[in-house]
């Protein structure tokens, strides 16, 4: 047996009086990938930061030991040792590629920084090495890209550059903290592939942190499942999938989005059309240094949402799916096209009273559960806002009663009405947003990536809630998402969008059985399969 690259024993982290991490022990073997899975707040990032000496929370007290293969102890090591180790022996890739790169430096400067610091390379040799690295991580036209700035790259490309920086000094260990969470599914699949290939070529050991067991299944050889700061299960990936011992592991397995798991209850074919959109066209004028330019965000898109059913609107970021939602809710003026809900035309209303009546029929839940609630209002005030605006349940006591009803409807205790949003978890906030959207008893609820920023285990519960609400209240959903696995769970019809155009629009069952468009197939392939990759050699 080889010496492990990193050997962690009985690691604990205390911040103030809170024990954040307790009794974590694991080994990272060379050329292997250790997956750490758990929901946000379970201490998975904290564990890895503490084990690699990167923790920078004031007052954090780290106990236990963390040994590198050459015998260096990282817990409590002096800063000089850390500087020698970070970047040279251990490379890091973090979650958000848009903030982990310095916007003022060219890619070359950012990649060569560690080479010059650790290897004492001259600028010229470092540049050659940077070029190799960019080619290795699959950046097209690497030579020209060396002199570009981060804002000239897409999110996926930036994450590739982050990986290039992390690998610059050929570290023995690569730490990847939720590296694909902020990316589209297709990009996620590419990054996973890239890391696997690089690992095979270079023999780097990897620690991959994620909240999604589906992703972990694609990368890891061994998995540690974390909950509440401790490890509840540690086993090879195949065992975790085939014979999970802990109930929490089973819960995570059940929660991961997966194709062919469930489909929504069959809707009556006779369900009549609620919303009909014809030839929707939205353009933005963008001013830039080189003059004004028109962006064609939505180009001739038509669809129908039937009463009590769900239409899935699928595509990557920038495909125009949120713009469709914006046009329907009056946030974005359409350029051309018609939309009719019931008998009411949406784009031609001008009178204030008509606009107000229209806003009652369509409501919307946004993606980010943190910024879509005003932090200065209590949950009760937030839910009561549409009631006040539309003069529903008039009078204070009637309103309080209705708010309590709505909270119960979304599965929250009624005393949450007095809490402020920051006192709630992400999933709870999203439930509040849903309650607020339901307050006006809409006929159509637009869900714009409403579960995308939640942990998979929480996402599964919110999706269950949405299904139950549809069954009970008979609302139609316009379900905007980038993940085809959850779209299959939720939707009766699916519209796939790419660069503002509809590329495929069919009933969900047909589309998943036999995708016609190449792009749809690519999206389908990107969904992590049911079995871990290690099980299918």
């Amino acid at each position: 047996m080889k010496t492990p690259v990193l050997s962690v024993r009985d690691l604990g982290v205390r911040i103030g009086r809170n024990q954040i991490v307790e009794g974590m022990s694991f080994d990272v073997e060379p050329e292997q990938t250790l997956g750490i899975v758990g929901e946000s707040g379970s201490g998975k990032s904290m564990t890895v930061l503490a084990a690699t000496g990167l923790i920078d929370v004031p007052g954090a007290d780290v106990r236990g030991s963390s040994l590198l293969s050459d015998g260096t102890e990282l817990v409590g090591a002096p800063e000089r040792t850390m500087r020698r180790v970070h970047g040279k022996t251990i490379g890091f890739v973090f979650q958000d590629p848009s903030t982990s790169l310095n916007p003022l430096l060219t890619l070359e400067r950012q990649i060569t920084e560690s080479l010059q610091a650790h290897r004492g390379m001259t600028r010229r040799t470092a540049r050659t090495r940077a070029l190799e690295l960019l080619e290795a991580v699959g950046i097209p036209e690497a030579e020209a890209r060396l002199d570009s700035y981060p804002h000239q790259l897409s999110g996926g490309q930036r994450q590739r550059v982050m990986i290039a920086i992390a690998l610059a000094c050929d570290p023995q260990l690569l730490i990847a903290d939720e590296p694909t969470t902020a990316l589209d599914v297709t990009t996620q699949a590419q990054i996973i592939e890239l890391v696997r290939n690089l690992q095979r070529d270079r023999g780097t050991a990897v620690v991959w942190i994620s909240h999604d067991l589906g992703v972990i299944g694609q990368v890891a050889d061994e998995v540690t499942v974390m909950r509440g700061g401790t490890s509840v299960e540690h086993a090879p990936i195949v065992d975790i999938y085939d014979a999970p011992r802990h109930s929490y592991t089973r819960e995570l397995l059940a929660a991961r989005p997966m194709l062919g798991k469930t489909t929504p209850p069959v809707a009556a074919d006779s369900a009549d059309a609620l919303l009909t959109v014809e030839g929707l066209d939205v353009r933005f004028t963008v001013g830039s240094a080189t003059g004004k330019r028109t962006v064609h965000a939505v180009d001739d898109v038509s669809f129908t949402v039937r009463r009590g059913t769900t239409l899935g609107l699928v595509g990557e970021s920038g495909s125009g799916k949120s713009t469709v939602a914006g046009a329907l809710t009056g946030l974005v003026p359409p350029h051309a096209g018609t939309a009719v809900i019931g008998e009411q035309a949406i784009f031609s209303v001008k009178r204030r009273s008509e606009v107000k009546a229209l806003r009652r029929r369509i409501s919307m839940v946004f993606q980010d559960p943190f910024s879509s609630l005003n932090s200065r209002n209590t949950v009760g005030t937030a839910i009561a806002e549409p009631l006040r605006v539309h003069r529903l349940a008039d009078g204070r006591s009637a309103r309080d009663h209705r708010v309590a009803q709505l909270l119960e409807l979304v599965g929250l205790p009624t005393d949450f009405a007095r809490r402020y949003p920051h006192e709630l978890s992400g999933g709870q906030r999203q439930r509040v947003s849903i309650a607020r959207a339901l307050a006006v008893e809409p006929e159509l609820l637009i869900l714009d990536e409403s579960t995308a920023s939640l942990d998979v285990s929480v996402q599964a519960k919110v999706l269950d809630l949405l299904k139950r609400l549809q069954a009970e209240l008979g609302i139609a959903y316009l379900f905007i998402a980038h993940d085809l696995a959850i779209v299959q769970q939720m939707c009766h019809d699916v519209l796939v969008m790419r660069q503002g155009r509809a590329v495929e629009y069919r009933p969900a069952a047909e589309l998943f059985a036999d995708p016609v468009d190449e792009y749809t197939r690519k999206l389908l392939d990107a969904v992590p399969p049911e079995h871990p990759r290690a099980a299918t050699p």
Partner: protein
């Protein structure tokens, strides 16, 4: 999964379990610094009202024989070059100084807030026009602008307040506009728009509370600067007219005697310093209580 209960795995945020809201004033009182500064402000305000009655000597009672006396049992803060009692003058000047500061900042706050919020929320050409006007006002040197206003309206207390108010308006307008711009693109404002909420409700419920923190800090800072601006204007003979005393005026009267009579400048200076400090600290305390995140921390701390 059949879990429709509030889920067990959704991590409870590490805050208060059963939340009981505490009244704002109780929280304010739990911070000793805020309490002390509030007491000082209260004392200053009371003095402003009853100053003329409790002053041991007449404000303008000269006594040349006793000129430039150091602090003693008879004259607590000493006497000035004309033999006037400095303690009495500091007490009486409180009213004038405080009035100038509060009224001028109130003018600036109301006008600036109105301009800034309208410009930031409406946007478009109105924003452009309003902000260019503000830019022009900014471009004038402060004293020159005040001078011009005084020249038109004639010197005096009212003019001083108006002049300082006008001079500080663009600062409030800019702060209000910048905060309004950043708040009005927040998703919770967009949510409100999709619900058909009117502009009035959005402004009152979402925008104003979220820009209040910045404005409170700006207000407490401006009160301090307004006190000093009054002093500067009075020195030029454009502010409070002698023999009416004001702290700033007394400071400038004292500058010729810095070497011989330190008490002439120290005591009015200390009055300005104390009041300014109290304004700032009270402003900080209010901001903490008005921000829900800070508030939860304060409430949690009380529980222990």
């Amino acid at each position: 999964m059949t879990n429709m209960e509030p889920s067990l795995t959704e991590a409870e945020p590490p805050t208060v379990g059963k939340t009981t809201r505490v009244a704002s004033w109780r929280l304010l009182l739990s911070n000793p610094v805020t309490v002390v500064s509030a007491v000082v402000l209260l004392a200053v305000t009371v003095i402003a009202f009853i100053g003329p009655w409790i002053a041991p000597y007449g404000v303008n009672k000269t006594n040349v024989v006793n000129a430039l006396q150091p602090p003693s049992g008879e004259h607590w803060f000493g006497t000035d070059d004309l033999g006037r009692d400095i303690f009495s003058r500091v007490l009486v000047a409180t009213q004038v100084s405080l009035k100038v500061a509060v009224v001028s900042v109130a003018i600036a706050l109301v006008a600036g807030l109105l301009i800034g919020v309208i410009a930031g929320y409406r946007g478009g050409w109105l924003d452009m026009v309003l902000m260019r006007v503000v830019d022009v006002m900014f471009a004038f040197p402060v004293l020159l602008l005040a001078l011009a206003i005084v020249a038109i309206l004639g010197p005096g207390l009212t003019t001083t307040m108006l002049a300082i108010g006008v001079v500080y308006t663009p600062i409030f307008a800019r702060v209000a506009r910048a905060s309004t711009l950043s708040v009005s693109v927040e998703p919770f404002v967009q949510v409100s728009r999709t619900m058909g909420t009117g502009n009035g409700y959005i402004l009152a419920r979402h925008i104003l509370p979220n820009i209040a923190g910045t404005l409170i800090v700006q207000t407490s800072l401006s009160l301090a600067f307004a006190l000093l601006a009054e002093a500067a204007l009075s020195f030029l003979g454009l502010g409070v007219q002698p023999p009416q005393p004001s702290w700033g005026r007394m400071l400038f009267d004292a500058q010729g005697f810095l070497g011989q009579a330190w008490w002439m400048s120290v005591f009015p200076g200390a009055a300005i310093c104390l009041t300014v400090l109290a304004f700032n600290l009270a402003g900080d305390g209010m901001r903490d209580v008005l921000d829900p995140k800070q508030r939860t921390m304060l409430e949690a701390r009380r529980k222990r």
